[in-house]
């Protein structure tokens, strides 16, 4: 299929944190997303079984999700701060602010999960895990809008 963009159109907003023109941020974001969704799943499993193994999984998933989430945030922030075209996009601001809240929620959730036994999950941990996932649906939507509608980080020479 032919490219429908006129040659006179503005260039796509470029990613700054990239390796061989591949943006780093989208390579990292699956890790925190999967970890925090996994936390909700293992929290529900613990809530239903009281089997400590699931609560231990949740604690590790939160820990890994936070580490990878901070790395993804750094790459994303470099892109955001380095490119005026990205900062001009409304979804970019919502994506940034929403995911900052996601990391704060996950951090407090990790502290709740450091309690011992039942109250490390039920009810506060479970509620925080669910809020994190709900918020990620929104911030993920904003991220997809940036890539699939506004072509952030997409090459110009397709």
């Amino acid at each position: 299929m032919q490219d429908v963009i006129p040659v006179t159109a503005r260039a796509n907003p470029a990613s700054t944190a990239r390796i061989a023109s591949h943006p780093i941020h989208p390579m990292l974001v699956p890790f925190p997303i999967v970890c925090f969704v996994g936390t909700l799943v293992t929290d529900v499993a613990y809530w239903k079984t009281a089997e400590m193994m699931w609560a231990d999984f949740s604690a590790w998933l939160l820990f890994a999700g936070l580490v990878m989430g901070v790395l993804a945030a750094v790459a994303g922030l470099v892109d955001f701060l380095s490119n005026r075209l990205i900062r001009a996009l409304a979804p970019a601001w919502l994506h940034l602010a929403g995911n900052a809240v996601v990391l704060v929620l996950a951090f407090f959730n990790a502290l709740v999960h450091s309690r011992d036994a039942w109250t490390s999950v039920v009810p506060a941990g479970l509620v925080l895990s669910a809020l994190t996932v709900i918020l990620m649906l929104f911030t993920g939507w904003m991220g997809w809008a940036m890539v699939y509608r506004h072509r952030v980080g997409v090459g110009n020479d397709a």
């Binding site: 400590m52 231990d56 604690a59 590790w60 999960h113 450091s114 011992d116 036994a117 490390s120 039920v122």
Partner: protein, 446 residues
């Protein structure tokens, strides 16, 4: 939490309360005086659940030359021996020789959660008392002339597995390693045992082995042994199956090694001792952490045959712990309250009833308790040896500080008291596992 009636203080308190709820800092709240948590009916404040539990461990400075603990009026204190390797408990043989059990944690507890990394790191501050050498052995001390200086120091038994309790019945010397009670032949005057030990009964050991000290005492007729087996977690966070046969005092038949659970629901029982008047079994128990700086008070109690003292489901009778699931209302209904609270997080590990005549008369018949000291509250508690007076076989009056000064004025730890014993002359002996010293408390001026 107690609130003061005047409004400026109250607003400060509510801010403190809010901070405590958010727990962004280990804030100092207006806590009940630890003294209100000593005795038969301790104040039990509302439970707190933390985002960050207060962790305040006295970092180690050790004893400088000439420094000693401080003793109550009428007493004096002197190091019987120093430069030991983590001395945890003491046993006095009939000929007056003193056995010092030098012991280290098994170190096999797995990292199950990110939290465990942090906890191990915090605990390492408190136990780094220069004890890098060989431990897990029993050292014999002999002070034949009774001048308070041991002329003879001999490695009595070596290569043990995190030993703690010792009991002698006739010529059979029992050592409670963390995973087994082992019997050795002993003859009066021996300064070293080379014969191999014989396992009498296996005890719950690793790999988790969260509370690993196995306290031991023989019945007065010598037919039975009683051994304290601590829980495998703070509050079942390693799973209830890890707690099988733990948080209990076992009764072991000395002839066959057969055992039964004598009493249960005792989170970490130590200092098993016979009360001299009623001949009842008593122990000191370390209660659970992370419910607040003033929960749950550790305690001294008589231990009744078949009784259940609550752990993990409840404390001080029917105060249910919400962290344990599934809950067991049937067991909570059975739980009995202990006899005497020692206040929260003091970590009592040593207990001895004073039956000697050498110390002032006020100590006769009462109990000395070695309090290793707190980590789970902003203001340090314990780090001393206290005396609980007894009358008619029951505690009678508030605990009195007898040996203090294990903390220096900057709240750094010079030492920490653990096991206690009374020597043949009636002096009190204290194992100090951070100062790596055995202290001898005798009457002043003698």
């Amino acid at each position: 939490m107690r609130r003061t009636p005047d409004s400026p203080r109250r607003s400060i308190c509510s801010v403190a309360g809010l901070a405590a709820m958010l727990c962004l800092t280990a804030c100092k709240e207006s806590a009940p005086d630890p003294k209100t948590q000593i005795g038969a009916k301790p104040d039990l404040p509302a439970q707190q659940q933390y985002l960050l539990p207060p962790m305040h461990v006295a970092s180690v400075v050790g004893w400088k030359s000439g420094e000693t603990p401080t003793v109550a009026n009428g007493l004096q204190i002197k190091a019987l021996v120093s430069r030991l390797q983590h001395p945890r408990s003491l046993y006095v043989l009939p000929n007056g020789d003193i056995l010092v059990v030098e012991s280290k944690a098994p170190g096999t507890e797995p990292i199950k959660r990110p939290k465990d990394f942090i906890m191990k790191w915090v605990e390492s501050w408190a136990t780094s008392g220069g004890d890098t050498g060989e431990s897990n052995r029993i050292t014999l001390l002999r002070d034949a002339d009774g001048d308070g200086v041991a002329e003879l120091k001999s490695v009595f038994l070596d290569h043990l597995n995190s030993p703690f309790g010792v009991a002698l019945v006739g010529n059979d010397l029992y050592v409670a390693n963390t995973d087994a009670i082992v019997r050795y032949p002993y003859n009066p005057g021996d300064t070293k045992i080379t014969a191999p030990g014989t396992t009498l009964t296996l005890l719950p050991g690793g790999p988790i082995d969260h509370h690993w000290t196995k306290s031991l005492v023989a019945s007065e007729d010598g037919s039975l042994l009683y051994v304290g087996v601590g829980s495998n977690s703070n509050i079942t966070e390693n799973g209830i199956e890890a707690e099988k046969d733990r948080a209990a005092i076992w009764e072991v038949d000395r002839a066959t090694g057969r055992w039964r659970i004598f009493a249960s629901g005792l989170r970490n029982p130590n200092g098993l001792s016979w009360e001299p008047q009623t001949h009842a079994l008593w122990a000191v128990i370390n209660e659970r952490d992370e419910l607040g700086p003033n929960l749950v008070p550790d305690y001294l109690t008589s231990v009744k045959d078949g009784a259940f003292y609550g752990w993990p489901y409840s404390y001080y009778g029917q105060n249910v712990d919400p962290r344990v699931q599934p809950q067991r209302p049937d067991l909570v209904a059975k739980a009995i309250a202990p006899d005497y609270a020692l206040s929260s997080h003091v970590a009592p590990l040593g207990l001895v009833f004073y039956t000697g005549t050498n110390l002032p008369a006020s100590y006769r018949g009462g109990a000395f308790v070695g309090e290793h000291g707190s980590w789970n509250r902003p203001e340090l508690n314990g780090y001393k040896v206290v005396f609980v007076p007894f009358a008619n076989g029951r505690p009678n009056g508030p605990a009195q500080d007898v040996v203090t000064g294990f903390l220096n004025p900057d709240e750094k730890s010079r030492g920490r008291p653990v096991g206690l014993a009374v020597d043949k002359s009636g002096n009190l002996l204290i194992a100090d596992d951070v100062g790596n010293t055995v202290w001898r408390v005798s009457p002043a001026g003698r």
